[in-house]
Symmetry: C2
Subunit: 127 residues, 2 copies
């Protein structure tokens, strides 16, 4: 079960990268729901999620960095390159009957937040 | 092994919440490294990480929402409440000999990004 959940999530992202939208849709439950807390957006239903992604302004390229899965749960870390830079995605997924039923994804652009001065003494800057 | 990795990561966050900094330090490898891609910051070494967290401006309260783990890898989803609102954390961890050796954490404030108009037709607003 562990590998199955991680593999279906990894496959979804690979199919997005290949712009194989109809095949990607097969990995989502009909009543799939995805939340993006950073914007307060919710994609309700497989079709809304696929259409949003299909219409995401090009160009962009996904690099899946890590998948961790156990039982029905999976987490995926990815970096998406686009003309504006790199956006990082951290997603948490629940898989049901081999399809993704629920997602919560956090998206944040690289270096989009200014490091506060108070903690500078304990950090380095990533090259 | 699966449970062990997830449990040490969950315990770290619980000990942070309890402000038990010395006990939290015991869960980190001496050469622990944590990256925050959203700010371009790197905490190198257990002591730097603990001191940064110990000095994080109060008040704040952690709610761990999910832990997914397999083998040496774990992912944790948390929400941190503070006077400015809610910050979401999504962390990916590598555990070695029962201690956390490596972390990549993404932090993003709730509703800190404006939803683009082009995708409004496929989304709802989270209550």
């Amino acid at each position: 079960v562990s590998e199955a959940s991680g593999e279906v999530v990894r496959r979804l992202w690979e199919l997005f990268q290949e712009r194989r939208w109809d095949d990607a849709a097969l990995r989502l439950a009909d009543d799939f729901v995805a939340d993006w807390p950073h914007t307060g957006e919710r994609m309700r239903g497989r079709d809304n999620d696929i259409e949003l992604n299909r219409n995401y302004p090009e160009p962009w390229s996904i690099e899946v960095r890590r998948v961790v899965a156990s039982g029905d749960e999976a987490a995926l870390e990815a970096a998406v390159s686009h003309p504006g830079g790199i956006s990082h995605a951290a997603g948490f997924y629940t898989v049901r009957d081999g399809k993704i039923a629920r997602a919560t994804e956090y998206w944040v652009d690289a270096r989009s937040q200014e490091p506060p001065a108070w903690r500078a003494r304990w950090v380095e800057t990533i090259e």
